[in-house]
């Protein structure tokens, strides 16, 4: 008798996506299965590729700013901030303190909005439908503030190189304060629904573990790295846009599983509210636009600026050849780098855990494919 017959050949190759609802867009994962167990995965990306980095080479610096919103469209304000900071560093422009504070308020609001989308969709993937409606309800308030501030809800184009285009509207401070007061009890509400929920814990505990060493090896940043116990936040490590003035904590996890990441992101929302309140209390007056020439023509050189986007380290590497258009723009998207660790997290897990792991990385395919 042979050692194995054809009946033992249980390996099955299965396509998950690109239309699968829990791949958060158009991610295709090829799964190699042994029964219900995942032996290996392979990601196929590029379904949402629009060549944004190439578009940059044919646009002036100011013209490219609306395009960066289309990468991570869930956190468009953070993208805009990273790009503007990079060009400002290239130009050597100082941003006025008022513009910096307003930028911090808007990016932190956007961080909350991004985490809310993550929490809602992740819970929906796992089977809890109620949190999605709750999260969308609170996100709506943030989007209303964005719409009142800059006239767009999602792809905001809120910042310009050198500062801000729009002064805050009359009731901006009241609106943001009202949101902060309303939002903190809502976070407790989400925690009541999920934190102690047995199904939630059962699905998330010890699923998709990524240790600190593995995170560093893969270049994984953001909440995934913090959940593994590493206190690394670019807002503290290399403060930008005046983050050094604000007092906040970096929430960390212990073992780096999906449940830790959930707790870290919930805590981050609370810390964001704390930062917003401090920024509102010390909102300085003065101009909102730095001294930027009409035609932006940076000197020859290159610059890399990274910020802490809701999903991790978002970096912009810009090479200037001295003309009005960038020679090359390279984006270091957090989702793309974090997605690399999918295979590591999925191996040996079950098919249902793959859904959890994709959800817990918090990817946006617009950013993965660019």
């Amino acid at each position: 008798m042979p050692d194995s017959t054809f009946l033992d050949a249980t390996e099955l190759v299965l396509n998950m996506g690109p239309q699968h609802p829990s791949t958060h867009g158009v991610l295709r994962v090829i799964l190699k299965l042994d029964g219900e167990k995942v032996i290996g995965t392979e990601c196929v990306i590029g379904y949402l590729h629009r060549g944004i980095e190439k578009i940059a080479e044919n646009r002036t610096y100011a013209q490219f700013a609306p395009y960066v919103d289309r990468m991570d469209y869930v956190a468009a304000v953070s993208n805009g901030l990273g790009y503007c900071l990079a060009v400002e560093k290239l130009l050597g422009v100082e941003v006025p303190p008022r513009a910096q504070a307003v930028r911090v308020i808007l990016t932190e609001l956007n961080r909350i909005a991004s985490h809310l989308i993550w929490l809602g969709t992740h819970a929906l993937d796992v089977g809890a439908i109620t949190p999605l409606f709750y999260c969308m309800r609170e996100r709506e308030e943030i989007l209303n503030i964005f719409e009142k501030y800059c006239g767009a809800r999602l792809t905001t184009h809120a910042f310009r190189i050198g500062g801000l285009q729009y002064e805050t509207y009359d009731t901006f401070e009241q609106d943001v304060r009202a949101f902060c007061d309303m939002f903190l009890p809502k976070v407790d509400e989400y925690e009541e629904l999920l934190t102690g929920n047995r199904i939630w814990i059962g699905r998330l505990r010890n699923v998709g573990i990524l240790t600190a060493e593995e995170c560093k090896a893969y270049g994984v940043t953001g909440p995934l790295l913090r959940a593994a116990g590493v206190k690394w936040d670019l807002r503290k490590a290399q403060p930008y846009s005046g983050y050094e003035q604000y007092d906040f904590e970096i929430p960390t996890g212990t073992i780096g599983d999906s449940y830790d990441r959930y707790l870290v992101r919930i805590q981050e929302m609370r810390q964001s509210v704390r930062i917003i309140r401090q920024a509102l209390d010390g909102l300085p007056g003065g101009p909102i636009m730095g001294k930027v020439p009409k035609v932006i023509k940076p000197p020859v050189g290159e610059v890399y600026v990274s910020i802490e986007a809701p999903k991790g380290e978002l970096g912009y590497y810009i090479v200037s050849d001295g003309s009005t258009q960038p020679y090359r723009v390279r984006v270091r998207p957090p989702s793309f780098v974090n997605l690399q660790a999918l295979d590591k997290m999925c191996r040996g897990a079950l098919v249902a855990d793959v859904v959890v792991v994709i959800g817990t990385i918090d990817i946006v395919l617009g950013e993965v494919d660019r």
């Binding site: 646009r59 013209q63 490219f64 609306p66 719409e147 501030y149 006239g151 767009a152 184009h157 509207y169």
Partner: protein, 157 residues
Amino acid sequence: MKQGGALRRFLRKVLFIDLIEGLWVTFRYQQPKYIYTEQYPAERPKIAERYRGAPRLNTNPETGETLCIACNLCALACPENLIVVDSERDEKTRRKVLTTFTYDTSRCMFCGLCEDACPVDALELTQDFELASYSREGAIWDRQMLEEGPRPTKYAY
């Protein structure tokens, strides 16, 4: 005591107390202030003042003349190159006069760079948001369309 509890449970069951309590929660949310559904074409949504919607080429309200000085700055600022401005020089006054102004809304991403660039506030992104048309050509707006604004169908209720 135990019997009283059983009686109470029995009465609750007979009189549908639990059902009424549950329905009361549902009924409470019938209050109009909890209703979020917008009856869209009948009820206009609230649009923020700074909303970046349909473009408009402003005219002088008294004379009806266009405010545009045909400086071409909006066309240069546009990332998608979708604005075409044509002008000719008036031989008498030696000033540029606008002849055609085309704005392709099908390619527009409403970033607002054109209205920022306009030195005389002639080009503006307005609160109009109903831009649908039956053809691709309908999405390319000429000067007349830009000055008058979109005219969505009005329904009677």
